[in-house]
Amino acid sequence: MSVTDEDFGGDRRNGVRRPPPAAQRGAANWARRNLFSSPLNVALTLGCLIFVIWAVPPLIRFFLFDAVWSGTDRDACIRSAASGACWAFVRAWFSYFIYGFYPVGERWRVDLFFAALALGLAWLGWLRSPQRSLGAIYFFVALPLLSFALLHGAPAIGLAIVPTALWGGILVTMVVATVGIVVSLPLGTLLALARRSEIPLVRWVAVAFIEFVRGVPLITVLFMASVMLPLFVPEKFAPDKLIRALVGVALFASAYMAEVVRGGLAAVPAGQYQAARALGLGYWRTTGLVVLPQAFRVTLPNIVSIFIGLFKDTTLVFVVGIFDFLGAVETARGDPLWAAPNTTITGYAFAAAFYFACCYGMSRYAHGMERRLARSRGAVKRPG
């Protein structure tokens, strides 16, 4: 809302820089301008306020004040079944939610994997961290190898093999999401470049792959990977169930990533290609040193959007019999030892909180990045 003329009244001396009038600042003024500026706004503000007062306190009461926090079985939950959540259930199943049936004695390996993953994300995600190109090599090359050795096992260095059938919970969610991210970014970029290639065959293959995968639901891709593949490949040679799902998820994400990166490539002005070519840079150097860095900057928020979608889509691996985090919650809530009316809702609330925390974190990161980029752009004139 604009400020009225009176706010500036009688104070128009030439050339003097002055702070804005006091009437523009302060919480009360902000509220007046944004919440109560018109009858409709007043009505909307009051309506929202009533809704919040009606909805929020009971939720807080249910999940915090009236909830049961400790206990060893369903009897603890039933006590508060009508009025509160049963966090004792989540506590009892907590390590299963994280590790699945991963052998207890080997779980330090999973913890180490989480730590290595966190290091990689921080290294790449924090723009001012030192040696970021080394960070990229770590994330896209070293981390996958390290993770495989840690989680699957490497008898050569004394890590016993843990079959993937024992993996579960957040471990599986993180593995599927990370593999999706680590594969889809480079593969999607290659597909996007191929789609803009001057060589017709390369272009057609890329278009066919992208359009086919985007035209099929992820569930279908997963079913095909896990049900149809064994029909063609002898049981002995059939790859592991988890690997099949990983390939399905990674290819699926790559097709979407390709389209997002393609948008970023289109946003790089033709003058940039010409300047790079005029300096004697060939196709790959022009692409790698000049075009892609700019394309990624433009599309970073969209890339993170794909990651958010991918993270939530990992729950679909449940349909092919892999127990990711949501699958683990599903399993736990069926346990007769904890059969109580409020365990299901508590388990789902816990799952929702976990997914929300991860996705909201990614979303805030993308938002912050977008603002940073908006600040640093400008002034360079674009041709056209």
């Binding site: 010409q274 040193l289 002034a379 360079v380 004139k381």
Partner: protein, 254 residues
Amino acid sequence: MKAPQDQPPENPVAIEIAGLNKWYGEFHVLRDIDLKVLRGERIVICGPSGSGKSTLLRCINRLEDWQRGSIVVDGLELTDDRKRILAVRRDVGMVFQQFNLFPHLTVLENCTLAPIWVRRMPRSEAEALARSYLDRVKIPEQADKYPARLSGGQQQRVAIARALCMNPNIMLFDEPTSALDPEMVKEVLDTMIELANDGITMLVVSHEMGFARQVANRVLFMDEGQILESADPTAFFQHPRHERARAFLKQILH
């Protein structure tokens, strides 16, 4: 293959264009261009917009393809051979109307990119080279800024330094001052005049007639894809022979 910068620049012809013809679809943009540029020559190309000046310039480093005719740069004929195209581009620097600096790199990184990745120069050597050229275009203090923080004139001088860092034998300028605010034109022209005094071969597409008078050995006037006049600046400005050249000069000089 022998890199062109290793050849002794004895060959007196820097660029030789013969029978060049180019079409954009049905539009005949360059018609029967014949042009011989001697080493150390400074040529200003002018003409109305759409006359094919920039297109001709872009053919010389093969940013544009053509259908008929030949271009030989420093003894290398431009063909479809990619290695040869890259060799010519290493030898020919180009400055664009819109500067086309790389916005994600600092000024210094803009200048060292090609020496490091194309010439395989060690980073420290490339940075020393870049700083010496930034010094020459009089903006050494901007080396660590990003292009967006610079004025248009400063950006164009960085673009000149960036091209010079490849030690080209030939420099192409495609309307280098047309996108600049008036008060910044002089600083860029001054930089170009200094370059001209160093004896580098220059082709400049420009309407800056003062610059043409001061530094050009030859002025080319183009219209409708043809070179209509090729004369030394005094003769061209005082007695343009072609009627269209007279009309053009009348429009831009008053």
